[in-house]
Symmetry: C2
Subunit: 353 residues, 2 copies
């Protein structure tokens, strides 16, 4: 029986729908185990711009900082996607949250539920047993380097930057995680092109001396993108920079059948943030078809990593598994070959409890 304070930050689009479901699951767990969870809800992204004139207010940030964990949805809006000149953008709220909360490590577990073997574009025999844990660096790279225009706006630039310390702290987390798993670490970079890549490789090479029990391989980011599809089972833990991590984990979502299945944990100096890896998906917003499983699994990661509640976390994962075993699906993970029941996000939850 524990007391915890959780901030719910649904953000935009389907973030609203799926986070509501994630929260319900957390509430059920609290009731079941006799925990006392309290909640605050804050705005972030497009809706925050509309209501507060800022993609993330100081107040919202403080509320997050003072909480025990944040369950986050997604940010974004087509309006900004189509207007590259917009000065204030939903994503700035996300970046501010990541930077100010010191969330330098983004964990993205890629694991296929056996029941979804048929839902992927990749052949089941290539996928079966694939189990990858990504460590994506989250507070460096072109995301936070200097950027702007010169030559009267006719040239744009973005600076990618990494310090030795930044590489070390994310690599350490990845090495430690590999130790509790299959003891393999792949570090993905572009050391053949980028100076940040060469620093990255140098640091990981040096650190590998402290982890003689871990088998380390260095791959170029392009080769990694290829190998993820060709032979996903060759990977255990993958550590990579912010931008490569963004691309490679979206790609790897196909290993798990759908983006709608993938949760992530962003951790670092203080409060952890838990979120689906999918975006705000305005094309399906309000239709009740969004897959809430990524948010539910994000809640499971929250319980496990921020609260140390292993049993509670496993119960959530088990519930998802049971629901899939029983043939329930959202549209994105339905196997066109079989005729399984399909259900909406909210209803799926009813089943979970």
């Amino acid at each position: 029986m524990a007391q915890k304070h959780i901030v719910i930050a649904p953000g935009d689009g389907i973030g609203q729908e799926v986070t509501a479901v994630g929260k319900k699951v957390v509430e059920k767990i609290a009731a079941k185990f006799g925990h006392e969870f309290t909640y605050d809800e804050v705005l972030i992204g497009h809706l925050s711009i509309e209501a507060m004139g800022s993609p993330l207010t100081d107040d919202a940030l403080e509320t997050m900082r003072n909480s025990d964990a944040v369950l986050f949805g997604a940010v974004g809006h087509p309006k900004y996607d189509n207007d590259p000149t917009a000065q204030m953008r939903p994503e700035q709220g996300l970046f501010r949250m990541r930077k100010e909360l010191g969330l330098y490590a983004n964990l993205r577990p890629i694991k296929l539920f056996d029941e979804l073997l048929g839902a992927s574009s990749i052949k089941p025999e290539v996928l079966k047993g694939a189990d990858i844990l990504f460590f994506r660096e989250l507070t460096g790279d072109v995301y936070f380097g200097e950027k702007g225009r010169k030559n009267n706006g006719n040239t744009a630039y973005d600076m990618a930057e990494y310090s030795r310390y930044e590489v070390e702290r994310i690599a350490r987390k990845a090495f430690e995680a590999a130790r509790t798993r299959r003891k393999k670490l792949c570090s993905a970079d572009k050391a053949n092109v980028m100076e940040t890549g060469r620093l990255w490789r140098e640091v990981v090479q040096k650190m590998s001396l402290d982890y003689p029990d871990i088998e380390v391989e260095h791959q170029y980011a392009d080769a990694t993108a290829m190998l993820l599809i060709k032979d996903p089972r060759r990977f255990d833990v993958i550590v990579t920079a912010n931008l490569f991590g963004d691309i490679l984990t979206d790609e790897a979502s196909q290993i798990a059948g759908s983006m709608g299945m993938l949760a992530s944990a962003s951790i670092g100096d203080g409060t952890g943030v838990y979120e689906p890896i999918h975006g705000s998906a305005h094309d399906i917003t309000g239709k009740g078809v969004a897959n809430p499983i990524a948010s539910i699994l994000s809640a499971a990661l929250l319980l496990d990593i921020s609260f140390g509640m292993k049993e509670e976390s496993e119960m959530v994962i088990k519930a998802v598994d049971n629901l899939l075993k029983a043939g329930y699906r959202t549209r994105d993970i339905a196997d066109s070959q079989t005729s399984s029941d399909k259900i909406l996000g909210t209803e799926a939850i009813g089943k979970l409890v």
Copy 2:
């Protein structure tokens, strides 16, 4: 009957083996059609560093510049991969060639030969009919921006940079190509994060007004990485920046069954360069198992694009197709389910003529 001068630049590793085969095919075509092709061979990459103290000499570059086309292999060596502090690197030869010859457009056609439907990790029903043409920008981005170290070598940086003009000229080529195909263009960027991405999107949006017949979509690079696997048939022409193009085309190689099948054409201000998209693959060098088809198809692109020899080019592609139809395979594209003949690179060529 035409007179042409071709530079052969095999580079390193399997580059040597496959380019020799590519050249033989060009020679056969010349003999068959009564063309008079002359050849020069130059060093580039690791072997050039060893022999000349430079990854690409001024002389070699001049020889390329004065030729009608270059058939290139690959550069790289494990020595440098494992030593991120090396000052002189094989890749510098490649970058110098690309920059000095003004090769700003790298065309990478991704097309699956029907016979190889089974060789991919992706399900045949997802792949069948996929036909994508990538336009990867090749002389900008972090590849050529300022890069270095600061804080006593403890911080590394790479500058990504694009000018309006650089985006326009590659986008124009992509729009024009889409016009001769299925009239769909996808532009992949990270406009939600990068200023270069916002400039990129702005330029492509503006240009699309000149191409009302082309259906344009803007996707984030991460979403593109996901969609390439989920539904490759949705794409026709894809245009993207240098770094994203590097990653996305390596990934997309899995749509064609193997990297060993993919050719590319680098074109721009003058002499065009034709090369496999695969690397120097030192792990299989000297074993005679490298797939020469990428180099053969590069030769076909060379005949078509630089020499305007459509018939000759098609004959090469047809020969590859016949060879696959007859069940000949290299190791990388063998389908484990069926028992097809397997042959070495050099022998495969015997069949082709």
